[in-house]
Amino acid sequence: MVSEPIVIENLTVRYGKSVALDGLSLKVREGEIFGFLGPNGAGKTTTIKVLLGLVYGESGTVRVHGLSPTDCGARRRIGYLPEEAAYYRFLTPLEILRFYGALFRIPRRVLNDRIADLLRLVGLAEVARRPLATFSKGMVQKVGLAQALVNDPDTLILDEPTSGLDPLSRMELRRLLLDLKSRGKTLFVSSHELSEIELICDEVAIIRSGRMVRTGRLKDIMGSASGVSLERFFIETVSGGAS
């Protein structure tokens, strides 16, 4: 059993001449919610893409549940919720979940039951057979969450999960994420909603220009800057003025 489902060591990624990640290292402990923070263009999305096997590092090692991210075995244990994703507009939520579920070779009966549960969980049971083209942004985001959970993953990678959600939905999502954590899931969350990160994360990492700036237990990081909100702490850190 791997106690650190995500391990990145000295990862460097280039896009042509520009360096997206420069010697990045981090570890995510099992069963925890890991917050991944950074300004725009810091390399957060690139890091996530490396974890998913969509981008290849020039050097360094990346392990997801002990396997290379390009190994399908690793991806079987991951759920991914992208930022501002869209899904096939000509399909219904039911069909989308069936399609993604089929990719994991989930037995049909198990899949059907799981889909029904997921649709109820995200509040889309009533509209399960409506084409996605008729959905609002928030509803599409809920479909995204459902598809990220369709394989009952051990690790969830979420990129801006609260994007497009109203405050009530955000609260429900927060509750869900904490519930998943209580069930032993590991969550890797990249977000600009620092208030949300502050409420749910056990550990955070802050990157800037492809490099790690600060990482550690949230309470330890915040403990050293008492009386300061995470937002203020983040701004000072990425501006280079954090204590």
């Binding site: 096997g53 000509f90 399909l91 089929a102 995204g144």
Partner: protein, 256 residues
């Protein structure tokens, strides 16, 4: 394999959820029925021109469905922002390429078979369906051409933009269908760069005229030998594999 199957099913749903197929089917059926109703000097049993019009429409519409469907798969996934989500699942890039191309082929094949059935019904109604063996061979060989052309369009889409891939696939298809048999003569009679280019086209591009048995169907010629069918099948499979492999070589390490 289940991933490939799921991807094939996705492409199937795409073609039948969009309007293109239905427009083509209705247009083809209306034109064919209209053409078959024409009586020239009150002769009712004139059928070859109906076969010619019908087969031309079927082949054209099938190609016009197949090429864009195959060439658009990658671009559509990118544009819809579904590509990252899909490849984050346990789907290898090879499975993605095969599944998408095979899906485009099977979807356009199903459309072609529906068109072909309408065609056979119309000619049957005229009382002159023609040789069943010819019909089977012609249908089978055209299906193989769909296999090759979807693989070609698919492969091109990994190197070029979707419109460019589509255009090039159409150009290659019609160039080789109409003139493929003559390219070596053209090359021999040419000078300068045209000569090696002509030879390259002749020997490298797939000869789509191999898959065209319309003349035999229209004019009731004898069927070709089944040995020839086997040779052309192997030819089609080889080109399909080559195209898909080239697409995979390009796509396998491409950052997304």
């Amino acid at each position: 394999m289940s991933s490939v199957r799921a991807l094939v099913g996705l492409v199937f749903l795409e073609i039948y959820r969009k309007k293109d197929f239905y427009v083509a089917l209705i247009l083809m059926a209306v034109i064919l029925v209209y053409a078959s109703q024409i009586e020239v000097y009150n002769f009712e049993n004139i059928v070859r021109y109906v076969r010619e019009i019908g087969l031309m429409l079927i082949y054209l519409f099938s190609i016009f469905l197949a090429v864009p469907l195959a060439a658009r798969q990658l671009a559509a996934e990118r544009d819809q922002r579904t590509l990252a989500v899909l490849l984050a699942k346990p789907v290898t890039r090879g499975q993605f390429i095969v599944g998408k191309s095979l899906g485009a082929f099977l979807a356009s094949l199903s459309a072609f078979l529906i068109f072909y059935s309408v065609f056979i019904l119309v000619t049957l109604a005229k009382g002159k369906m023609g040789s069943p063996v010819n019909l089977i061979q012609a249908g089978y060989l055209f299906s193989l051409s769909l296999l090759v052309v979807t693989a070609m369009a698919s492969a091109l889409s990994y190197f070029l933009t979707s419109p460019a891939a589509m255009t090039l696939a159409f150009v290659f298809y019609f160039l080789m269908s109409l003139f493929g048999a003559r390219f070596d003569r053209f090359a021999e009679e040419s000078v300068g760069l045209a000569r090696p280019l002509g030879k390259a086209v002749y020997y490298l591009l797939p000869h789509f005229e191999f898959f065209d048995l319309r003349q035999r169907v229209i004019h009731d010629w004898d069927p070709v030998s089944w040995g020839l069918i086997a040779i052309i099948t192997a030819y089609a499979v080889l080109y399909t594999a080559l195209f898909l492999f080239s697409g995979w070589l390009k796509f396998r390490r491409q950052p997304l």
